[in-house]
């Protein structure tokens, strides 16, 4: 620690050693004890520190009362699901909720359908939906190479009459 770094530290953090950065506090305190000039510099900053501390000690408007804090706490926890509130909506998976709704529609709990039947339906429903989707989205039987070539020639013929020798009208009629 030298005079320059000590004065720089004082100008930023003031004369209260508790506000000094931890990594330089010990060295700065030693420097302060050893140098009278450093003590004079610290004294000139101490007046501002006292002024800053005076706000903290006065009955300021910035410190909330316990009643204000309790009111704020209640507002915060009411707007955000609190200990007594429900879970965050994000924790409920939409697919699960959807399956629950279908099962409840098929076997309404209010009509006394047992949990076993409802569980079996819930377990089987995704399988049934998967099978249904699989069957409907399955591609048709693959075409043979000969079929593909025939179709290609036919399509070329539609746009170019040099292959067929037919006039446009005749071609339309043949279709």
């Amino acid at each position: 620690m030298n005079a320059k770094t000590f004065r720089r530290m004082l100008s930023a953090y003031g004369a209260h050693s508790v506000n000094w950065p931890i990594d330089m506090r010990e060295e700065a305190e030693a420097f302060l004890n050893e140098h009278q000039e450093a003590q004079r510099w610290a004294l000139s900053e101490r007046f501002l520190d006292l002024a800053l501390t005076s706000i903290e000690q006065s009955a300021g408007t910035h410190s909330p009362t316990s009643a204000e804090l309790a009111h704020l706490r209640e507002n915060i926890l009411n707007h955000v699901p609190g200990p007594s509130g429900s879970k965050r909506p994000a924790t409920v998976q939409p697919v699960e909720a959807w399956i629950d709704q279908i099962v409840d529609w098929l076997w309404p709990q209010s009509l006394g359908f047992g949990p076993l039947l409802r569980s079996a339906t819930a377990a089987g429903l995704p399988v049934m939906i998967g099978a249904l989707l699989g069957a409907t989205m399955m591609p048709s039987a693959p075409m043979s190479v000969a079929d593909e070539e025939g179709e290609e020639i036919y399509l070329i013929a539609l746009v170019d009459d040099t292959y067929t020798g037919l006039a446009h009208d005749e071609m339309e009629n043949s279709l």
């Binding site: 720089r8 000139s44 501002l48 706000i55 926890l77 200990p83 879970k87």
Partner: protein, 184 residues
């Protein structure tokens, strides 16, 4: 905090614990920043709502919880100033730590005897008159008890730039106090 981010059964209780631990300091900070307690209290509520929704973004390895919370509250206050056309006074030398060299010279500082007898109201007013960045730096370091590294993180500065900002803030505060002392 991890429990809040996990959004499990314990999340609401864990969140309530965070509110209990940090409600008072964050309210003090927002009130000091905003001047009006109603706006400040809205900011505090908004800050905690953001904590709840953004809990997953908190990285315990890169920041302490109190730093992250102050950062959220600070950014909301600054956004509020901008939205309401309240000028956020930029400090033109924020990024220039060389100004620290000038801070070494205290010959141009007002005589401390001028503000030795100022009232706490005058100090509060002098603090309020500082540019937003300088006031934030002083509030976070002196009143919120944040370390220099944490304050620098909240203000998105290097520690050297923060020290420069603090030095300018203290010098400006001395000048404001000297002016108000002379006016009395």
């Amino acid at each position: 905090m991890q429990k809040v981010a996990d959004a499990g059964e314990e999340a609401p209780d864990a969140f309530a614990e965070i509110v209990d631990a940090f409600l008072a300091p964050l309210t003090r900070y927002c009130r000091r920043m905003m001047h009006q307690s109603t706006d400040a209290d809205d900011m505090v509520q908004e800050a905690f709502a953001k904590v709840w929704t953004d809990a997953g973004r908190f990285n315990a390895e890169s920041a302490r919880l109190s730093t992250w919370l102050h950062q959220i509250a600070h950014n909301l206050c600054v956004d509020h100033f901008r939205k309401h056309n309240r000028m956020v006074e930029e400090d033109p030398t924020d990024q220039d730590s060389r100004i620290n060299d000038r801070a070494d010279s205290q010959d141009d500082a007002p005589d401390h005897r001028l503000f030795a007898e100022v009232t706490s109201d005058q100090v509060r007013q002098a603090l309020d008159d500082l540019p937003e960045r300088q006031r934030s730096a002083l509030l976070l370091c002196y009143y919120q008890g944040l370390s220099n590294r944490d304050t620098a993180a909240v203000l998105d500065l290097t520690v050297a730039a923060l020290e420069s900002l603090l030095a300018r803030a203290r010098r400006a505060l001395k000048q404001n106090l000297a002016d108000s002392s002379i006016r009395v």
